[in-house]
Symmetry: C2
Subunit: 272 residues, 2 copies
């Protein structure tokens, strides 16, 4: 096989499976090439992605020895994305009765999901997260996109305990927006042991839901690496959780008025 | 830029955005290369992916002219995946009270989601699907994975009409497993006009839910390109919908008994 073909195959393999360790032995077998040639190829791919600012190839030490691709989002692409999204989110026709923001179209858009998945994953690669936790329903697509780039399972917190979940652990909490006591539960079997969780959701107001998910996770002795949301509100300024990342901050929503949307996610890379 | 670097960058770009048209002008600008060199590069990438059986680069005719990557899953990888999954699904501890099958772990596994996403997308590339529709909750991750490879939005059918969805269209249906009348609704604004929908779900018994989603979609004058589920049951043999793809067929579930799981998705490529 010519080097150019090998580089294409390797790039395709690595990019298709972000954050997934691949052993040099597997690559060597699959590409019928000596490990020494593969090491050179890996160096070329790493150099190319890094010079473009669009990813890196991490080396895994240990018995087999291997590599894995981790995504990086160039700063200018992030800023362009945040500006475009802010413009979309400001559309006054998005304000729904009761001061809610219509976001279902955005939360189902494959380009938005993939881009935010990359941004959130990038911010948490260093945290050794082994599960993404979200609460049904609207945040699930985002959580799946993030989990793909982190290469970890996604666990869905259910609002009702369903028969198909098997045994579950439940807590009650006071929902911020609806001001009523609600249950939430996680299937016992779905949670990995020694879980280190990233909580992902679409929207955060006071943070009551995220706080409740944290309480629920503590029942599993899970560690919470962080919380990442697409959008949070300016009010209340004092949230119930202290540590979260939010791509956008939105002002109070009133029908017929301008929507204030501030991109707050542009400086994330510095968190690494 | 050397050709090897250009091939890596292009492969990375195309593979990251499946089924997404990229114009040669954009590539030319981004890679600082003449369109003629890029055409040669595209030919090399196409040839490499096709000879591996892992994808292709389709050419888009018309004004700008461009290319897009479409995934292909090699037949041997499909068979290996189906065998592995069948073995996992047969685990008798998966049987829940009431004859339900525990699948939440599988439905949250990033490798399963990505692989099934590729398989389902491959089967429907030729159908010009422009939206993936699923019903909350368990099927959403699968739907997101498929929508990513088809590069179309995902629309979630809600069991209750929520304020955050805006105006919605609702229907009622008789749930097969629970034998009661239930509502389901789709946000009007979330559906594309002239929709051609692929319905994706995790599990199908008689097909009452899929049938109801079809009825709901007909309220939007949407065309249904097909229905794809991870798993369907042997009984009832006669489903309420006639045309669906199912990766696995499962026998009657009784606690303490062997689970019969038959991989039925291995011959899909012939459907194209």
């Amino acid at each position: 096989m010519r080097r150019s073909e090998r580089l294409i195959r390797m790039t395709k393999w690595l990019v298709t499976l972000p954050n997934t360790p691949v052993s040099l032995s597997d690559l060597s077998e699959h590409l019928s090439a000596a490990k020494s040639s593969l090491s050179e190829d890996v160096a070329i791919i790493r150099h190319t992605l890094e010079s473009e600012g669009s990813g890196t190839i991490a080396t895994i030490q240990g018995a087999g020895g291997g590599v894995k691709y981790q995504v990086r989002v160039p700063q200018d692409a992030t800023l362009r994305f945040l500006d475009d999204m802010a413009a979309k989110l400001k559309d006054p026709s998005r304000i729904l009765p009761g001061g809610f923001l219509y976001m279902s179209d955005i939360l189902g858009d494959p380009d938005v999901l993939d881009f935010v998945g990359q941004l959130f994953a990038q911010a948490f690669y260093h945290s050794a997260v082994n599960v993404v936790v979200t609460i049904e329903t609207k945040g699930i697509p985002l959580a799946v996109a993030v989990a793909r780039y982190l290469h970890v399972p996604v666990v869905i917190v259910r609002r009702e305990h369903r028969v198909t979940e098997g045994a579950a652990v439940s807590v009650h909490y006071v929902s911020g927006s609806e001001r009523r006591i609600q249950p939430m539960s996680i299937s016992k079997r779905a949670m990995p042991s020694h879980a280190k969780a990233l909580i992902v959701d679409d929207f955060m107001r006071a943070g009551a839901t995220a706080k409740a998910v944290m309480n629920l996770l503590s029942e599993f002795s899970a560690e919470v690496a962080g919380t990442a949301v697409l959008m949070s509100t300016m009010e209340p300024q004092q949230k119930l959780i202290s540590d979260y990342l939010s791509l956008f901050t939105v002002g109070t929503l009133k029908e017929g008025q301008q929507i204030q949307v501030i991109p707050t996610g542009g400086t994330w890379n510095e968190k690494d």
